[in-house]
């Protein structure tokens, strides 16, 4: 969270961020390390659950404004909420289809996320974040 202003400034590129007084190299290193740590820890605990990281920031970007410092905490909350709902739905499946074995939650997020990926690719084009 403390990286927020630095990430915002980096929207303008490294030179402009540096002249705004942001420690650019440190911000980039910390952001990369933080991302790797968080993703690694999450995958280690829960296993691979696809598409959440892809879908949630894109869903929230139009709602939260596009500043990285606002989007980042929002995406964390939104991701947690989406997974909670997905997990609940997965646990409800045995009541609907009595024969089925427990469904991995990754199946549901993939079911949601794959069409979403197609939509954002078609709608926005690859260069429009």
């Amino acid at each position: 969270m403390r990286l927020g202003p630095g990430l915002d400034a980096l929207s303008l590129g490294e030179d402009a961020a540096a002249t705004l007084g942001m420690p650019v190299a440190r911000t980039l290193r910390l952001a990369a390390a933080g991302t790797a740590l968080a993703v690694g820890a999450g995958a280690a605990v829960a296993g691979a659950i696809g598409f959440v990281g892809l879908v949630v920031p894109h869903l929230l970007r139009p709602l939260s404004g596009r500043r990285p410092s606002v989007l980042l905490p929002g995406a964390a909350l939104g991701g947690a909420a989406l997974l909670l709902v997905a997990d609940m739905l997965v646990r409800l499946v045995p009541f609907v289809l009595p024969t089925s074995a427990p469904l991995p939650v990754g199946v549901l997020t993939a079911l949601l996320g794959a069409p979403f990926l197609v939509v954002i690719l078609r709608k926005a084009g690859p260069w429009d974040a």
Binding site: D8, S11, L12, D15, R66, A129
Partner: protein
């Protein structure tokens, strides 16, 4: 007059190529200084050196010096106001008055809530310039702020920069349009092959600038676009 930004005997090599040789440059309050010269002459490097972006150059106080990079673009579709507000980062505040004033100065206030990746290149350029103005710095270092602008907007921006300098700020600006530089700047510095070839009051700079580009100075009666009277 105090010199608020200066380089002394700066020589800079980038990637094994000497880009600046033994350059002395300074600018003081109340000055609009235009850097002119052929592509690759070292204008941008000189500006980056002043901004403290090169190895061995001390970074200036970000509240005092604002730098607008060449071809400034924004990685995310922030709104114009959000981009301009990034200029407040050095002050660590969220003051809106300076941001609004900067947007108005750069004539982009009506597009405040538009996404910067959904407006024209010239409009985006003005939003980037507003970011520099929002910092309310003493010194502006601007790399081609009028690139992408239509002729009327370019005149308007240069008039703004001149007024900013006349109000006591320092403005150093890279300009390719030599005639514009001569019309609006107090001083024109001609950069050629990594050296300062000339440093003259604007009204005397045309011959030196022409020779740096390998062009002639001439006069003809061809009608051309003039700023509004």
């Amino acid at each position: 007059m105090g010199r608020v930004i200066a380089l002394r005997r700066a020589s800079i090599a980038l990637g094994g190529r000497t880009v600046l040789r033994d350059v002395d440059f300074s600018a003081g309050p109340g000055e609009l200084v235009a850097l002119c010269g052929p592509n690759g002459a070292g204008k941008t490097t000189l500006l980056r050196a002043l901004a403290g972006l090169l190895p061995g150059m001390p970074p200036p106080d970000p509240r005092r010096v604002a730098y607008l990079p060449q071809g400034a673009r924004c990685a995310w579709g922030l709104t114009v106001r959000e981009v301009a507000a990034l200029g407040r980062i050095p002050h660590r505040d969220t003051a809106t008055a300076p941001v609004t004033a900067a947007l108005a100065n750069c004539d982009i206030l009506p597009l405040s809530e538009a996404r910067i990746d959904r407006i024209s290149g010239g409009e985006a350029r003005r939003a980037m310039l507003a970011r520099a103005f929002a910092t309310e710095p003493e010194v502006f270092l601007l790399d081609e702020p009028t690139a992408d602008l239509d002729p009327a907007a370019a005149h308007a921006i240069l008039r703004l920069l001149r007024a900013t300098a006349d109000a006591g700020r320092t403005v150093v600006v890279v300009l390719h349009a030599v005639e514009m530089a001569i019309a609006y700047a107090h001083r024109v510095v001609v950069v050629q092959a990594g050296r300062i070839a000339a440093d003259l009051p604007a009204d005397q700079a045309l011959p030196a600038a022409a020779s740096a580009f390998g062009l002639r100075v001439g006069a003809d009666m061809t009608p051309r676009l003039m700023p509004p009277a």
